[in-house]
């Protein structure tokens, strides 16, 4: 056999999914799993109907309503008529086209990027798409997973393929180990702060190094989830024993699981493979992070101060920083720990998994939410909610004064009634601090679940490394 040049994991997945390539056209790649939610799919299904087309592979297509759904009583109809219509439209489309739907009455309903892995639908080596930018989450399993627009959703529904231009590859290696109190959320925020929100544009990022290898699957999903916030097409982490143990026994994994593992072991990047771009960070330089601005790259360490626009070298950065500080109502030089919060949101496809909830609960156990703060926890799925309740986490949160809600995207983007009022400041475990993201005039600070929980108790940001409970 002719020995092959060393390949990156991305190149292997790409090659394995190439259906057709001809000069002058984009490559046509096969899509193994298509996840669908109510917001970006109605126009795609309508397009199919208008062209009299069917869904080529309904069995590779899975849907759930998540963006619009209320997180309060599920037995009541959705109050907002337009939200209700969108959820009902998804229901009707799934019925008409024969697509499996995890509806509001299913325990498996939840944020689409939470339920895919939970059900074992997400597997190493796959190509996965969804009309949602945070599809990058699934890359934590060593799948090439990326967000697409509604026209592309329609394309995948009709053909199970997608014309794509091959992205470049970018290795981000993180050596060393994260320090106590520092989570994978802090790591990815730090990385975005270093490479900017466009640092990954046109590239698929593969995260490697000891700090990444040490992470659990939940923590890896947080990293890959926010790859899009660095502008990357997708994020990837090589599958290993941690991946296999997470998947073992889940509902949709291959029947011959051991054979599947053997196949998945071939996926990691070969020794000596060359990436188009490479950067190395050191985990022990990283402190808990808080965003101060209106994009995820505008971030700093908890023990730092709000920066001054003049601290930045580029003119566009200075302009962005000045505009962001005005919007956020922050003064340069203010210690981050002196920023008071009104609301705390623990949830979203970034940080709503069981480990996130355990971590947050460990910081609020036996304490009370600050009297000025309104705090809520929104589990990522019905399954996580149930598990958390079995572990008594709901009681910890409720006794501390948190709202304990039903699964959904909730206040990450406020398409449902969970929104901030204008001017309200929120410590949020979500992924975007854009202007108005959590409600018109809302002020969002992105943080880890433990930082959010600690802020809920103190009423302002705190350096969790200084809390007695975090010394371990």
């Amino acid at each position: 056999m002719i020995s092959q040049a060393p390949q990156t994991m991305f190149q292997k997945i790409w090659d394995q999914h190439l259906v057709h390539k001809e000069p002058g056209r984009q490559a046509l790649i096969y899509i193994d799993l298509h996840l669908v939610h109510e917001v970006t799919s109605p126009q795609a299904f309508e397009g199919l109907r208008l062209a009299n087309r069917s869904v080529r592979r309904p069995e590779f297509t899975v849907a759930t309503p998540d963006h619009n759904v209320p997180t309060t009583d599920r037995l009541l109809p959705i109050a907002d008529p337009i939200s209700r219509q969108q959820v009902e439209t998804l229901r009707e489309n799934c019925k008409e086209f024969g697509i499996k739907l995890y509806d509001l009455d299913s325990i498996n309903q939840g944020i689409v990027h939470v339920i895919g892995p939970e059900l074992g639908l997400t597997q190493p080596g796959m190509t996965i798409v969804c009309g949602d930018s945070h599809t990058s989450t699934h890359g934590a399993f060593g799948a090439f997973a990326f967000g697409i627009g509604t026209s592309e959703v329609e394309h995948v529904l009709a053909t199970q393929t997608l014309p794509q231009t091959q992205p470049k590859t970018f290795e981000i290696r993180v050596d060393g180990e994260l320090l106590p109190g520092v989570t994978s959320k802090d790591l990815i925020l730090y990385i975005i702060g270093q490479i900017s929100t466009s640092g990954g544009s046109g590239h698929v990022v593969e995260y490697s190094g000891q700090a990444i290898r040490n992470l659990t699957m939940e923590q890896r999903m947080t990293i890959c989830n926010m790859s899009i916030e660095a502008g990357a097409r997708a994020g990837l982490i090589a599958p290993d024993e941690i991946t296999f143990e997470y998947l073992r026994g889940r509902a949709h994994v291959p029947q011959d699981f051991e054979a599947a593992i053997e196949k998945w072991r071939q996926l990691p990047t070969d020794e000596g493979a060359v990436f188009d771009k490479q950067i190395t960070f050191h985990a022990n330089n990283i402190a808990p992070q808080i965003t101060w601005g209106t994009n995820p790259g505008q971030v700093t360490a908890v023990d730092a101060c709000v920066p001054n626009p003049s601290d930045f070298s580029e003119e566009h950065e200075q302009q962005s920083a000045a505009a962001a500080l005005e919007y956020m109502g922050l003064q340069p030089g203010t210690p981050m720990t002196e920023i008071m919060v009104d609301r705390v949101f623990i949830g979203s496809c970034t940080n709503s998994r069981i480990e996130d909830l355990r971590l947050a609960a460990s910081l609020v156990n036996g304490k009370q939410v600050h009297e000025r703060v309104n705090a809520m926890v929104v589990p990522g799925s019905g399954v996580i909610k149930k598990q958390a309740e079995e572990e008594g986490l709901d009681v910890i949160f409720k006794e501390a004064g948190f709202d304990w809600r039903e699964a959904g995207c909730s206040m990450c983007l406020g398409m449902n009634p969970d929104q901030l009022a204008s001017g309200e400041r929120c410590a949020s475990t979500s992924n975007r601090n854009f202007e108005g993201r959590q409600g018109k005039g809302s002020r969002t600070h992105l943080v880890s679940p433990s930082m959010a929980a600690a802020a809920a108790i103190a009423g302002h940001f705190v350096d969790i490394r200084n809390l007695p409970s975090e010394k371990s």
Binding site: G24, S151, E152, T159, T165
Partner: protein, 202 residues
């Protein structure tokens, strides 16, 4: 799909970096199940105050930008959410072409599906265009995709790069799905090679 061959129009400038799709079309307008009518919501929170009145300081509300169809913007335009509604809103508002230093990948792809041409130019050239608009309120450009040139009404001439695999389908306005369906045999062969059950309704 609507083709883009050439277009002449008024230039509007939004000189801000990292304009995300949450700003282009805020989430409260994503609940519609139609593909049309999003122009009225374009940049909604930047365009209108709480009473629904125009914010005079916002670029697109300024008289010299009324009727503009070519948008010149800062770097990393269209970042964040994948919502194609952002391009639907721009197109419905009247924009046929965006010119920026860089775009988010998903927004860039979405433009091509809707007959909107996203042009990438270097920072100096972008600033040159911004300066000209500042000096001449009715500054117009003619964008020709086939020859990859931009010509200003003041004689300015700029060439731009575009990946031929993206350019050709936009010039022809081809139905992407129809094009892929011509590869039916290849798709079926792939599925057979990967031991998938045959599709019941190809």
């Amino acid at each position: 799909m609507e083709p883009f061959k050439s277009h002449q129009g008024l230039v509007a400038v939004i000189n801000r970096a990292n304009v995300d799709t949450d700003q282009i079309i805020p989430k409260q307008f994503l609940k519609r199940i139609e593909r049309t009518g999003f122009g009225q919501f374009l940049f909604f929170d930047w365009r209108f105050d709480d009473q629904g009145n125009d914010r005079p300081e916002f670029e697109l509300n300024q008289p010299e930008n009324k009727g503009a169809s070519i948008l010149v913007a800062g770097r990393n335009f269209g970042s964040g959410s994948s919502r194609e509604h952002a391009v639907w809103a721009l197109a419905d508002f009247g924009f046929r072409c965006v010119i920026a230093e860089s775009y988010s990948d998903i927004f860039y792809n979405n433009c091509f599906k809707n007959g909107v041409l996203p042009i990438v130019l270097d920072s100096d050239t972008i600033h040159q265009l911004m300066d000209r608009k500042q000096n001449q309120a009715d500054f117009q450009l003619n964008v020709d995709l086939a020859s990859q040139t931009i010509v200003g009404d003041d004689g300015l001439k700029i060439e731009f790069e575009i990946d031929p695999v993206m350019k050709q389908p936009l010039l022809e306005g081809l139905d992407d799905i129809g094009q892929t369906m011509k590869q039916e045999e290849k798709i079926t062969a792939y599925e057979l090679a990967h031991k998938m059950a045959p599709v019941s309704q190809p």
